[in-house]
Subunit: 340 residues, 2 copies
């Protein structure tokens, strides 16, 4: 039923080889035939069979986008960026979910299934096991990680230690001393250093200011608003609750703020909150945050793998660090009680 290259060849009065060349714009075709073939092909509504072409060339014109979530803002934004970048140059995005890494309620990621299906991969801060990492390497296609640096391949991310430090220093500069942190669970590492790094940044800034925080100021949660909400409730139950909270993501921060308000505390009157990301809703919510350019990181990751696919092996090990910056809005202020 579909039009094959042979139909075009016949209709144009040339060989299939010539049609193939003409359609791909190879130089070794006269402008005339090129034009004729193009017209005939378009008239016939011909479109090359990807499987046949892939089988013959070994290229798939497809890049795998592996991600643990798509519902969370960070991932959704990065995915959209990657997809656009790929589509812009005629590549397809094969979306590969790796399941809830924390709960394992989905079959594990088996990189082998991508064998021969993709020319490259963009992996979004997926907490991969060692096995999975090996599998990824074995695929031997250009691969860029977003959000975490992996040696031997490409990556684009932000300096999460600096992020934690920036947020915390902002709070300290405002005069806060009892500054808590609500971050990701360090147990769930698996090559996923973001939660650890942000926490480290917090600790480092605190210590540098001579403010060793008690262990119970280091709360953990998943990266969701309900998680932040619960964590904040625990913090508020302490004898000496914090006057400021550095949340490891804006979504956590939303939950933290909610818990504070439910407890009758004003934000930023009684407690200041700063997040990380600059989520789509953060401006609307007035959230002070450390902004990271997520869309851009996705774009760059896609560009990197496309470049290496295209043969620019000089970038094969490139690690790019995106800029972050504090965006002050209305959830942080000096503490009510400024005296020591």
């Amino acid at each position: 039923m579909p039009v094959r290259i042979e139909d075009v060849a016949r209709a144009a009065g040339v060989s299939t080889a010539t049609v193939s060349r003409a359609l791909r714009g190879l130089p070794s075709v006269s402008t005339d035939t090129q034009e004729t073939v193009r017209r005939v092909a378009s008239d016939l509504g011909y479109v090359v069979s990807r499987s046949a072409s892939s089988l013959a060339t070994g290229k798939t014109l497809t890049v795998g986008v592996v991600t643990p979530y798509v519902r969370r803002w960070f991932f959704a934004t990065a995915i959209e960026a990657v997809e656009r970048e790929l589509r812009g140059v005629g590549y397809d995005a094969l979306l590969v979910g790796v399941g809830e890494p924390m709960t394992g309620d989905v079959a594990p990621f088996r990189p082998e299934v991508l064998q021969g299906r993709v020319d490259g991969m963009v992996i979004l801060t997926a907490p991969l096991t060692g096995q999975e990492m090996d599998g990824v390497r074995r695929l031997a296609v250009p691969t860029a990680f977003v959000g975490v640096a992996v040696s031997g391949t490409m990556s684009v991310r932000v300096d999460d230690v600096a992020v934690g430090r920036t947020a915390t220093e902002h709070l300290i500069a405002l005069g806060h001393r009892r500054i808590a942190h609500v971050g990701g669970d360090p147990e769930d590492q698996l090559n996923y250093t973001t939660p650890l790094d942000r926490r480290a940044g917090w600790l480092s800034a605190m210590r540098q200011a001579g403010l060793e925080p008690p262990p119970w100021y280091g709360e953990t949660s998943d990266f969701t608003a309900p998680g932040g909400h619960r964590a904040m409730q625990r913090l508020l139950a302490l004898e000496e609750p914090p006057t400021a909270v550095f949340a490891a993501s804006d979504e956590i921060a939303f939950g933290v703020i909610r818990a504070a308000r439910e407890a009758g505390l004003g934000v930023p009157g009684d407690v200041s909150v700063v997040g990380v990301d600059d989520h789509d809703l953060s401006e609307t919510m007035g959230l002070t945050t450390v902004r990271q350019p997520v869309f851009e990181q996705g774009q760059v990751a896609a560009q990197l793998v496309l470049a290496v696919i295209a043969g620019d092996s000089s970038r094969r090990h490139e690690h790019v660090l995106a800029e972050t910056r504090l965006v002050c809005r209305t959830t942080t202020a000096a503490p009510a009680d400024t005296s020591p």
Copy 2:
């Protein structure tokens, strides 16, 4: 470099045909050889070439997921659902962005490029032009729409008129009379009836209660918080601002609430707000909303196309309507001034 079927055949001492059969579990293979082949294949790390297999069978084991956005909650959630459903049965999700439909800053969707690349499609409330729709039909693969009913194929959605009515009736029941609506732009239709339907539901409920709203109570915006924010600012500048707002999405509602609070109005003290969706953050924000099961809609859409692909043509024209329900939280209350 990669292991081919022939390698497995040789190692197992059988023909490639037998390997092919054994690996696919065809009945016409003795249990013994089946087992041997399986083991050898796994030992060798063999994985069938998708392009070769597709070329030979005509099936791609891939379904296209076409969407105008991935960053917006509704789409991200549906995409995640579809991807999981597909992966669960060994199908791949090919993510296809159709660009900002409103601004046209991205190349138009050309369904032909999916020719022969997918066995089916799930199309997420994408405002397709007539041309694009024709292209989709011409692909002649099982296709399910999410969020909009399209005749001649499958769909899963909610009754948006009922949604609008439910939200509005809730406000009316609380005693509100000056109820405005902030919805999507009716200009941007293109088979995308959601904004129109929700608006129609609002109007219908109002009229049924004998409350013909003035035209300027029918505000429009895109489906974002900033859009809702701007729309609410316009509403608040009216001589007689509304005491309640029905926002066509939770994201719009967040913006509306923000604008109200910035104007010094309490929510729900001075103005009530109800949204639609039950966005991930709505519970945390305490937003009253008309919940729609987005994840489930995505699942069902995927199941439908998988079923038809699998040969169950009885569902080829199935239209499923998902349930919605009002979730009362803390952004709606009786108006301050209950007197007429």
